[in-house]
Symmetry: C2
Subunit: 332 residues, 2 copies
Amino acid sequence: MKKLAIGIDIGGINTAFGMVDEQGDLYAESVISTRKYPHVEDYPVYVEDLCRALRTMAHSLSFEYELVGIGIGAPNANYHRGTIETPANLWKFRDEEHSRDEARRIFPLAEDISRCFGGVKTLITNDANAATIGEMVYGNAKGMRDFIMITLGTGLGSGFVANGEMIYGHDGFAGEFGHVIVERNGRECGCGRKGCLEAYVSATGIKRTAFELMSTMSAPSKLREIPFADFDSSMISAAAAEGDPIARECFRRTGEMLGRALADAVTVTSPEAIFLFGGLAKAGELIFEPTKRYMEENMMFTYKNKVKVLPSGIQGKNAAILGASALIWQAR
Amino acid sequence: MKKLAIGIDIGGINTAFGMVDEQGDLYAESVISTRKYPHVEDYPVYVEDLCRALRTMAHSLSFEYELVGIGIGAPNANYHRGTIETPANLWKFRDEEHSRDEARRIFPLAEDISRCFGGVKTLITNDANAATIGEMVYGNAKGMRDFIMITLGTGLGSGFVANGEMIYGHDGFAGEFGHVIVERNGRECGCGRKGCLEAYVSATGIKRTAFELMSTMSAPSKLREIPFADFDSSMISAAAAEGDPIARECFRRTGEMLGRALADAVTVTSPEAIFLFGGLAKAGELIFEPTKRYMEENMMFTYKNKVKVLPSGIQGKNAAILGASALIWQAR
C-alpha cells in the first residue's frame, strides 16, 4: 500500500498542507487561513478547523494508502517538545495586560494534531529546519551528511546538518544564523538587538540597503521613484537585471555580508555545501556570484575552494509543504 | 581483563602518551621529543621511535590487560582520513624550494601507529577535538548531547558536539572557531587573515591586548616594566589579582570579545553548556565573569539565561593524554 505523509506549513497569513509520498510527489493539497485565529483563545478553534480540513483532504484521495505521519513547519517550533512557543505573530494576547504571562503561549500543536488522526506520529520544527530536511530528503542535499541551508525570505532562516543529522540543539531552537551580529551597533533587528545578519541579508534587508544606497550614492536609479511603503525586494532584482547601478550595488553588498558570515559559519561545521533557498536566491547569479566571491575571500585557508554554494533543489509554491512532510521520512 | 587505551598528545615540542582506562585513570605515561624530528624526511624515524617508546610503555605494566585502541590528538589532524595534513610546525621542508609541494606533507599517522600494534584501532583528531571528547567521556560534559568546548592555549581551539556526536565536518576539519572574524581588518592572525578571534582571545591575544592598552591607557601598571619579548600571559593574571588597572581591563576586553563570539556560536548549535579549558581559563572569575556577562548581553532572546559557561572538568598536565585516549572510548 502507498505510504503518504501530511506536510503542514504554518505561516502568519495561511496554513497550507498536502499529502506527499517518499519521492516528494504531492497527491492532494489545501489551505486554511491562519490570520482568522489571531488570539490566544482562538487556538483551540484553529486546531479544530485545521483538523477538519486535514481530514477532508485525507478522505479526498481515491486510492488506499497508509498515513505514516504528519510533519509541521512553523515559526518558533520546538522539535523536542512538539510545541510552538511564544510566536511573535500567532495567537497573541488581546491586550497588553497579559503580555508578561508568556507561559500561556506555549501551544502543544504536535500532540493536538496527532490526536485528530488517532495518535499518528507528528513532528514539528521551524520552517527553515523543515526546508533543510526537505533538501536532504527530496532535494540537492540527498546523501550529504554535512551541509547548511540558508532560507532568504522576509527574514533569514537557517538549518545546520552535521553527521547526517539536523542540529536542533539542547533547547530545540538551534539554527538562528540570521541573528549572528555582523555589524556592531548596526541596523535595528526585529529581535530587539542591532546588526543581525538578517537585517542586511533578507528581502527586508536588501530593501533597507537600497534605501541606504539611495542616500549615500548619487547615481541615477529607477528605484528613486518608488516610496518606501510600496517598495518590494523583487524591484531590486528587476532593476539590477537592467543594469541599474544602485540595484547592482545592493546585490554586491548583500552578497558581501552573506559571504563573510558564511566564511565564519564554515569554521563551525565545515559543510560540503551551502544551499540558498527562497525569494532572494531566485535572483540567481546576482546573489550567488558576490556571495561565493566574498565567502572565498574571507575563508580560512583550511576551507578554501572546498565548499559549494548551490541553489535549493526544491522549487515552487509547495516547497514548504514538502519540507514539512520530509520530517516524517527523515525520522523513519 | 582490564581494558586500556593509549592516548598520544603530539605538540610542537614534545609527544606525551599514556595508558588510560575507561574511568580516566592513568596507568603509565612517558614522553619523547617532537622537536628532534623537524623535517619531512624525519617523519619515518619519528614514527619508529614513537612506536618503540609506546611498546616499552605497554610492556612496563605489571598486570594483564587488553589494548582496545590508540587515540591521537595532533595539530591539523584529519579524523576521516587518519592523517596529519600540512601542519605549520611539524615535519617541514628543509628549504623553501619544495614549499609548494604540500601534498607530500600529508602524514598517515593513524595507519603508521596502528601497524606497530598489529593493526589495533587508531583514531586521530586535532587537540581541541580531543579535549572535547575527553570532556564528554571523563569530564563535566558527561551525558550532555549538545555542548561547545573552547580551549585557550597559545591559540584558541574549539570543538562542537551536537546530538551527542563530535562535529568533524565534511573534510574532517570542523571546529576552527578561533578563526571567525571578530574585527574586520583587525589584528594580524597566524592564519594569514586579519581580525580572527584567536588574535584577541588566547594567551597570545591577551598579551597583545596588554600592549595595546599600555599604549592607549595612561594608568600606571607593573606590566610596563616588562619587555614584549619576556612577557607571558600569566603575568597579566598575577597583576590583575593585585588590582592592576591595565591587567583588569585586559580581562574585561578579552571576556567581551569571547562573550560576543559565543553569543553568535550559540545561534548555530544552541548548546547546553560552553566549557573553557586551558591556561587563560585558569584565571577563573577574571575571565569567566566578563565572558558570561557579555555573552548574555549580546544573546538573542531565544537563548538568554539558558547556556552555562563552565570550567573544564579535566585538569592537570595529563588532560591532553586523557582527551586523546577518550577518542577510543567514545568510538566504542
